[in-house]
Amino acid sequence: MKQTFSEKILSRKAGRSVRAGEVITASPDFYLSHDNSSAIIGEFKKLGLAKVKAPGKIVIILDHIVPASEEKYAQNHKTIREFVRAQGLPHFFDIQHGVCHQVLSESGFALPGRLIMGSDSHTTTYGAYGAFAAGIGRTEMASIWATDEIWLRVPETLRIEFRGAFPRGVFAKDAILKVIGDNGADRANYEAVEFAGPASSSFSLASRMVLANMAAEMGAKNGYFAPDDLTLDWARAHGRGGFEPVSSDPGAAYEAVLDCDLSVLEPQIACPHTVDNVKPVREVEGKPFHQALLGTCTNGRFEDLEVAARILTGRTVHPGIRLLVLPASRAVYLEAMKAGLLEILSEAGGVILNPGCGPCLGAHEGLLAPGEVVVGTSNRNFKGRMGGRDSEIYLASPATVAASALEGKIADPRKYL
């Protein structure tokens, strides 16, 4: 029987051969939670259990509101630290590490063939490493802590085949925005998205994370890149524990196959207030704005900061723009610092924030006043997400954000690259 990646990995977990549409019970390899662990602890306690079932599978990474901006958030963090100590949880990452998806990945938990559940919608990110990774809610995570099991429907798969090479000034973010814009924010609802085609192995791991991360914005259950030499070399060098690569069989059944020719793409931007409201940057060029956000779990890695620094070297951002720089993790921060990128971005007028979720979810810093506009590299532009109900969020690549920050209005980055 020909199987997709998702059918194969869930067959292995179910202990029988399964097809899309079946419901299985599985024991995940790891489960991630973040600041919401405090709410999960509350739900877990309602079950009346003294101990979690599998402490070695729980990964907790504090990132959403770090450092705590108010007493209530400090209390949440304290509750989590106490629980981690009491339960003897070995995989706890306190506030200094960065965004959970980056930290979990670079710490070697996300490996080919693994099943990872996370109480965060962008858990899909780990598909960049060939893992099956999907988001769930808090109550569901409490139940996993108690039972080490979850029910999963085996998803159908939407395959996206990339071919050609990116033109100058066009990046992974532009490709995924174009796909979402063309196909809609619910195109892959409940489905697995397989990123494939001859050009897929030309993406760096960082770029694969952009696509797998944004698969959530198509409604996908998980996103996936077949592991190749790049993945396997990385996994052997940095992975925690063993792993077993899984790939789709040739001839497996797909719900649909979409084609994406990278060579004809131009810079893209998602306009307010939905991620599928995507236009070429040239159509909104000249739109004034107030804040630029460079970073996040979507585009806060070294290659993202590097391209922005290339554009901003020896220049300063427009006086009307507040540029916020949010490296995805401490490891990225250190690498960017040692390479001089943070110096360039700071000299250009950028505010270097500590790694974490920062302004992206609008909970504690870098918020927008009513009527303000942000152009950022994050993954969601829902109404009011980053502050005032009447504020606006545009989403684009790091290059587009850097070029726009320079000009004080939305700008096409190609003239700077």
Binding site: S143, D186, G384
Partner: protein, 163 residues
Amino acid sequence: MSKGRVWKYGDDVNTDVIYAGRYTYQQLEPAEMAKKAFEDLDPAFASGVKPGDVIVAGKNFGCGSSREQAAACLRYAGVQAVIAKSFSRIYFRNAINLGLAVLQSLDAPDALPSGDEIDIDFEGGRILSGGRVFTFFPLPESVLGIVRAGGLLEWTKKKLATP
């Protein structure tokens, strides 16, 4: 048969507008959470909603964040069901886990206006409004057990108690 009054919204209603990020990492009591429901989409909702009311929406209801308060706040506000053309995956799971009825209907959302009084026949999979009858997909058998148990925590308790 269960009566309810319709609050009608469009496609792609996301979890940020159902329950804003600024409240997501605060731990609020149910009555407080109910007051935040739809704050960024329809400021009139929280003060006007009555027990038994029904949300009717288009496709992809609950897209975005995995925050389950977006399901909980509606239940705490007294909403008895959300009827939509389709639901975002995590929202659908969360709603079932928290005991909020999520009914997928292809024909009812376009036909039902705000303020309409409807009857929901949960067992029969029917929605009735002024002599018109619409249908919704029954929940998959595999998840009905969770609903029947009264939500995921109760279901898990039973599972843990079974040797």
